[in-house]
Subunit: 254 residues, 2 copies
């Protein structure tokens, strides 16, 4: 895939992940890893139960720079005070309905935020999520559309999904429409003439090995044409097929 | 969000998650949890290091039904033998480039698979992913577009991202649309096992006609695999290819 350009990076740099009252330090490490994998770097911890922590370092698998740089605050208000858009993650069915969006809609909204503004995405406790009071600090509530009978995601898994959507948004925001007919590797597509000469060689060889009866060819060549044309062969592949046919010719004539 | 209707459920039910040689049983538990959160249920483990495992049960947070039902196989070939579309997760930069898609494109393809066909998404080892040989069993390679400088996701996090995209697809594909993976004619697609036996026959024959040197095979078989898997052969086409190989065998041995 394409590397991110500076504008897309800037978009991801302005996103802060806030974890409220995390109980298990392993989850903080898992979150740091997921963030760094997706190109996010701003982590803020509201009153974590155990931090800094060796368990967090181990689970981060090398994202220790994010852990070292993480800010720790006493309250959620402090953590988001300098942000302009605050989004809280939420299960369904709160007392007061709030605008609920899914992670893809969140990414769409973030893509429209002016580059000088800061965005916070807030994740709650492992067992109870965010309180109603905390959710009411937020402009939007984002809900990952999980299985209603088994809806509680691991904290790092939830951050992974949101961070993935934000990265996909940043990537697509910079994508020039890529052409889609042609190989996606470094060998050119074969031209029609080369492919036809290969089919002629194939037909002669099939007659030679007595698999194709010229007086009763049935649908053999059409079937083989349909198969190979579906694959849209490149030049090297056509040459490999010609090489195989030549090897068979030599062997059967000797 | 909308609950899934029976057709969308059916789509998710036909998706198998395959984990190859997983080292840490905690990751197996995390995968089961992520799958169940997203409505997937078919888990297959290829030669896991430690399973069944109490650690897996703990990390699954209640997705023990998936762990209990998980199938364990010795080889990847067994795990995917009855599947029609096989997708391997991959980092970039393999020797032979293969068609690489992102998780959203994967979901788009899966949404077009005929409902009677089975899909496998294959995840590799925690440290080294899938081997080139394993990747060459696959029709497509899916790559999660991670930070190039820190690209290795936790196994459960990677499954979470893919499963999330598949669920989002199922949710948005509630409308009935014509499926597109599978033949649009009246012959069934070949299963992975049939195709593999054809490749084995092809390889033996290429050695016999002295086109393939077993001591220096270079990239011949991978190239032929890539070509023919791109075409997604039906049962009759595979039989035709076997017939050609048998005719060549007879002729060269006579």
């Amino acid at each position: 895939m394409r590397p991110l350009n500076s504008q897309a990076w800037k978009m991801l740099e302005n996103i802060r992940i806030v974890l409220v009252n995390t109980t298990h330090p392993g989850n903080i490490g898992g979150v740091a890893r997921a963030m760094k994998n997706m190109g996010l770097s701003d982590l803020c911890l509201v009153a974590p139960k155990s931090f800094p922590s060796e368990v967090a370092v181990a689970r981060s698998s090398g994202a220790t720079d994010l852990l070292d740089a993480a800010r720790v605050t006493e309250t959620l208000e402090e953590a988001v005070a300098d942000c302009h858009l605050v989004v809280g993650t939420s299960a369904r069915g709160r007392h007061i309905p709030w605008p609920v969006i899914d992670p893809r809609e969140l990414a769409g909204i973030v893509s429209e935020v002016r580059p000088e503004l800061r965005v916070a995405v807030v994740f709650g406790r492992e067992d109870r999520g965010l309180t109603n009071e905390e959710l009411q600090l937020c402009h939007h509530h984002v809900h990952i559309p999980a299985n209603a009978e088994f809806s509680s995601l691991n904290l790092a898994a939830a951050v992974q999904v949101i961070a993935y959507e934000l990265r996909m948004m940043a990537l697509s925001a910079q994508r020039a429409e890529a052409p889609r007919w042609g190989t996606s590797w470094d060998i050119e597509l074969a031209e029609s003439g080369e492919v036809e000469r290969m089919f002629e060689h194939l037909e002669r060889t099939l007659v030679e090995v007595e698999f194709l009866d010229p007086d009763n060819p049935r649908q053999l060549m059409p079937r083989l044409r349909r198969l190979l044309l579906r694959a849209v062969p490149d030049k090297v592949e056509v040459n490999v097929l010609r090489g195989i046919l030549t090897a068979v010719n030599k062997k059967t004539r000797s």
